[in-house]
Symmetry: C2
Subunit: 188 residues, 2 copies
C-alpha cells in the first residue's frame, strides 16, 4: 500500500543513491526519463537536486511547470528503466509505448509511476545559474510516498529480490541494492 513518508524521513528514500524515474507534465503533455544523477540536499524540509539534461523533453516540461516526480523503480523494472532512458519523449509517448501505468500525485501535476516503490513529489526552486551551467534542478520535496511492504518506519526492508531498488552503472548494467550491513557504534 502507498503510504505517506514523513518529511524528516524523506531523505532516506534516496540516501542510498538509487536510480530514479523522473516524470513531468505541462500543457497537456507528459514524459518520463531515467535519472541516476539525483541527490539529497537537505533533511527537513526535504530537498533534493536532479540533473536534467539540456536537450531533453523532460527539461522542457520541467521548465514550464517547475514540478516533477522522482519515482524509484525496482529490479523487476530494469528493462523499462533502461528503455525510458534511451528514447526521447519528443518522438514517442513513452507511457503508451511501454505500457506505463500512472497514478495522480497529491501536490504536483506530474504523475507517479506505478510499480515503483517510492515517490517524491518535487517543486523546483528557481536556481538559474545551477540549471544553466549544470542542468541541475534544486527542488523541495512537497510530498513523499512509499510502498509500505518495502519501506516502513523509515527503513528499507526488501521483501523479495524483485522489489529491490536499483543502481545504474552504464549501458543497461544495474546493481540491485544489496545486503544490509550494520556498522558498530563508534567507541567513545
Amino acid at each position: 500500500m502507498r503510504v505517506i513518508v514523513e518529511p524528516r524521513r524523506t531523505y532516506r528514500l534516496i540516501n542510498h543513491g538509487p536510480t530514479t524515474l523522473i516524470s513531468s507534465a505541462a500543457g497537456g503533455k507528459r514524459n518520463v526519463m531515467a535519472a541516476s544523477w539525483v541527490v539529497a540536499l537537505d533533511f527537513d524540509p526535504p530537498k533534493l537536486a536532479a540533473v536534467i539534461g539540456g536537450d531533453t523533453y523532460t527539461k522542457e516540461l520541467v521548465d514550464a511547470s517547475r514540478e516533477f516526480v522522482v519515482s524509484l523503480p525496482t529490479v523487476a523494472m530494469v528493462d523499462l528503466t533502461y528503455a525510458v532512458g534511451n528514447v526521447s519523449g519528443r518522438k514517442v509517448d513513452k507511457f503508451e509505448r511501454f505500457g506505463i501505468r500512472t497514478a495522480p500525485a497529491s501536490k504536483v501535476s506530474a504523475p507517479l509511476i506505478e510499480g515503483c516503490v517510492a515517490w517524491l513529489e518535487c517543486k523546483a526552486t528557481p536556481e538559474p545559474r545551477m540549471e544553466e551551467e549544470y542542468g541541475l534542478y534544486a527542488a523541495e520535496v512537497v510530498a513523499a510516498w512509499a510502498d509500505d511492504e518495502v519501506f516502513s518506519d523509515g527503513l528499507w526492508r526488501f521483501p523479495d529480490d524483485t522489489r529491490r531498488t536499483i543502481h545504474h552503472l552504464s549501458k543497461g548494467i544495474f546493481f540491485a541494492t544489496g545486503e544490509r550491513v550494520e556498522a558498530r557504534e563508534t567507541p567513545a
Copy 2:
C-alpha cells in the same frame, strides 16, 4: 593495484550512488568525513557535486584549498565510514584516532584513503550561490583511480563481498552494492 581511470569512464565510479569518504587538506591540517550526498554532474571532462555541510571542518579546509578527494569505501569499512561521519575533525585527528592510512594524490593536496576501491581527485569550481545556499560544491575530477581487482575496463566486478561498495541508509545502516542485473536492449 591502483590504476588510472580514463576521464570518459570516471562517472562510472559514482553513477551507482555509493557512499563516499571526502578528504581535505589545507595549511598543514587534514580531515576526512563520510558523504552520501555526492552526485555526478557531467561525463567528460568529469564533474561531480558534493554536499559539504556548513559547520564541518571539511568545509573549512575545502574553502581554503578548493580541493578534495572522494574515496569509495567498502563493506569491510562500514565501521570506519560510520565513525568518521560521527566525529568532528576539529576535536580529533581522525587519521590517528581510527588508524586511517593514506597515500598522496597526484594533483591535489588532499590524501587518498587506503583500503578504498576508487578515488576521485577534485578541484572545486567557484559557485558561491550553490555553496552558500545548499553547501553544494561543484568540482572537476582532475584525476581518478580504481583498484583494478574491483573496477576494470569501466566496470565494477566485485571479487568478494567485503570489497563491495556501500550505500548508507541512516544511522549506521548500510546496503552493499548488490547483484548485477542487466537490462534487455530496448526493442526498436
